[in-house]
Subunit: 438 residues, 2 copies
């Protein structure tokens, strides 16, 4: 029956305009009227902000810290109250499960993360996590059954490199967890602190096809929605990221005794590289971005001609081929500069993160939910990385953005309006209900 | 008699072509034949290099360190052997005195320093110090008396800010020695370690007119002589130095989520400032130099648009008015950039060091000594600061440069050829003998 309904309305997407009655639990009609409790999800967000709170505002809830452990306990308590069956998987993800009515249906997964960067804010990850739990609360209160199991996930150590979601799709290797990290401690040891078990990585891994869909609500972390005055971003995909390390070698000489025409000034070359990245990235239409964000001068003294500059070039776009092409243009300019200034330049790849497209059908579902809720929205890429990009390796993926005031993120000043949090949670709820029908 | 000789030859400078006999000690004719012992001065230089030697070469003989104390003991031992009467003055300068024959004649002062920068070389300061002592050795062995007293000075803490020479001319204040330095220790406390007495600053100070002349031999620390294949630089003066702190304020945003047209990238503004300094300094004829040597990006992460850049601008020239004018041009460009990029820029003075001219007559004396010794030379400015610039406040000043191989200084790779050390010491000796006649 369910399947037949789905087939029937496939041509119009998954939300039929004239919807037939459904056979299990409460009906789809009632589902469309379901709304989250805005005050509750915002209260949970405020309560979560206690864990790792900084005197100057915001939180430092770095993964595996005591604040993270406390925040995870808080979230697990909420999940249980929302009727979810809570467990921690071997890579530290908190999974709250709710049964579905259809036999053998794969789970619908929603969630986000609650770890933060040092001196971060109260919205990045937290909004999506509390909203996913709020969906469970709302379904429980309405006694709304779903055909699919619903899993609410709090992914472990998102800010440290999408650790939990990586493990969930089987992309975390024994080497990854054995290798000491920058603080000297192997990831595996840290996973144990949050209830994980690095010996059982295989048990955490999920095969492609093992989930029906993954949908994540997140703050935009950019200023596009805020500036446009829109409520919701329908995420087209998560950008690919290229990073290169560039080293310019000049010669560090006394700035008082070295005539201008005898200098090999690495900083002048580096300045042109920073400008070239900006110019070349802007020279093509599109939403690609390019940044020289890190630049270190040696020996970095007022009276010494810069002898070496190390800098990073980062490029991001949904289209990996496009940023590969932009890098090629930047690389050629760098080569020309190196010979012009007598300052050899070396280039080394630093990061190559292949992004992920969201599923067109899920975008359609989100778009309809936005419209049905009387909200405004737009399609947009996610310039930041998210757990969703790993989940896309095992199932169709979608993401919902809510506005970040002023585009500020990874800062105590991070802010998303309470009504936007509520709207986002309602779009997530309606998306889940609609996806449950396919 | 002496004075009459001097008057007689004044029109030709102080070295008369047909020299009359002199009345005291050995004659001027013999003086002109006097030569230092090149092997000895180079041996002393090698022996001095033991104190503070680094495994990778060069020395760290930072002022007031044990290495500095040991080096000072070594130098005082040499001075005594050379017949000098050695004492440490209240600001830590080592002064080795030799009596003159003329009643009430003010001293001729020669010298340099033996403290080094951290990981410095074996020539900066050391060459001039060992050569000044070698002059005393040579005069003693030849039983050559001088009309003027001769003072050989090892100035204290040159690299830390010309401390000893500053105190010698009365420019070191009680506040200067009381204020804790970067390491938290007041200068006064450090002066005690080397035998000084910060309570007696006034006793260290010398009035204008209290010395006949000051002459310092030093390595060039630049590549001009080396590149030109010349033996001696006749220093026209020590440059004035202007330093400014420049702060560019952008906005630190996520480099993935902030579109190119919404950025306030402080690094792009800073890049243009670095280029403008280079361009404007090169746009006028002359030997002025300008450098952005220090540049710090915040938060300095590959994935964050630079929110703030702090950088230094340094300008040097013999002509202070010229670099004041260059700074004015740079400042105007900076103002224009600030508004163009929406990145406010603030500018604050950091250092204004007024340089010093050497005396024309002393330059003539040095030039004749160079010629008489069969050496080659050229007039040039000193781009680096030296104790001589303070000494110029109390007496006529001259400086003699010897080549630095490759222009390298403040580095273990610093090198001056032994024959150049010997030539420089001979020029110093002949300059002293000639100045003694005026």
């Amino acid at each position: 029956m369910q399947r037949r309904d789905f087939v029937h309305v496939a041509g119009l997407g998954v939300l039929a305009l004239a919807a037939p009655a459904v056979s299990t639990g409460r009906g789809r009609h009632q589902g469309r009227q379901l709304r989250v409790t805005g005050a509750r999800v915002n209260r949970h967000l405020a309560e979560l902000s206690r864990f790792g709170r900084n005197p100057q505002g915001g939180v430092s809830r770095v993964a595996f810290s005591q604040a993270d452990l406390d925040g995870r306990d808080f979230a697990m308590g909420l999940m249980r109250t929302a009727g979810l069956d809570v467990a921690v998987d071997p890579v530290g993800n908190i999974l709250g499960r709710r049964a579905g009515t259809a036999r053998d249906a794969p789970p619908l997964i929603i969630g986000s993360h609650i770890d933060s960067v040092p001196e971060g804010g109260n919205y990045d990850g937290d909004v999506g996590s509390m909203a996913a739990i709020e969906v469970a609360y709302t379904l429980q209160e309405a006694r709304q059954t779903l055909r699919h199991p619903l899993w609410v996930a709090i992914w472990a150590d998102e800010e440290g490199g999408l650790t939990g979601s990586r493990g969930f799709v089987g992309a975390l290797t024994p080497e990854d967890v054995a290798r000491p990290e920058r603080d000297g401690v192997p990831l595996g040891e840290k996973l144990r602190r949050i209830g994980g078990d690095p010996e059982r990585l295989a048990d955490a891994a999920h095969r492609p096809g093992s989930a029906a869909a993954y949908v994540e609500l997140h703050i935009e972390q950019g200023a596009v929605l805020d500036a446009a005055g829109l409520d919701i971003g329908i995420v087209e995909g998560i950008v690919s990221i290229l990073q290169y390390d560039v080293t310019v070698t000049g010669f560090a000489n006394h700035a008082g005794t070295t005539p201008m025409n005898r200098r090999k000034n690495a900083l002048l070359t580096a300045a042109e590289i920073a400008q070239a990245v900006d110019r070349i990235v802007k020279s093509e239409p599109g939403r690609q971005v390019g940044t020289v964000g890190q630049l270190v001068v040696r020996p970095n003294a007022p009276n010494v001609v810069p002898g070496e500059v190390q800098l990073t070039v980062e490029l991001r776009d949904l289209d990996l081929a496009k940023i590969d092409g932009l890098w090629e243009r930047i690389r050629r300019v760098i080569e020309g500069l190196a010979s012009g200034y007598e300052t050899p330049v070396t280039v080394a790849p630093r990061l190559r993160l292949v992004g992920a497209q969201s599923e067109r059908a899920i975008r359609d579902v989100i778009r309809r939910a936005v419209r049905a809720l009387g909200l405004s929205g737009m399609d947009m890429p996610s310039g930041a990385g998210h757990d969703a990009q790993y989940l896309a390796q095992i199932c169709p993926m979608g993401m919902i953005f809510v506005p970040s005031a002023g585009g500020i993120s990874h800062s105590p000043k991070e802010f998303t309006r309470p009504d936007h949090v509520e709207h986002g949670a309602n779009v997530l709820l309606q998306t889940v209900l609609a996806l449950d029908q396919r």
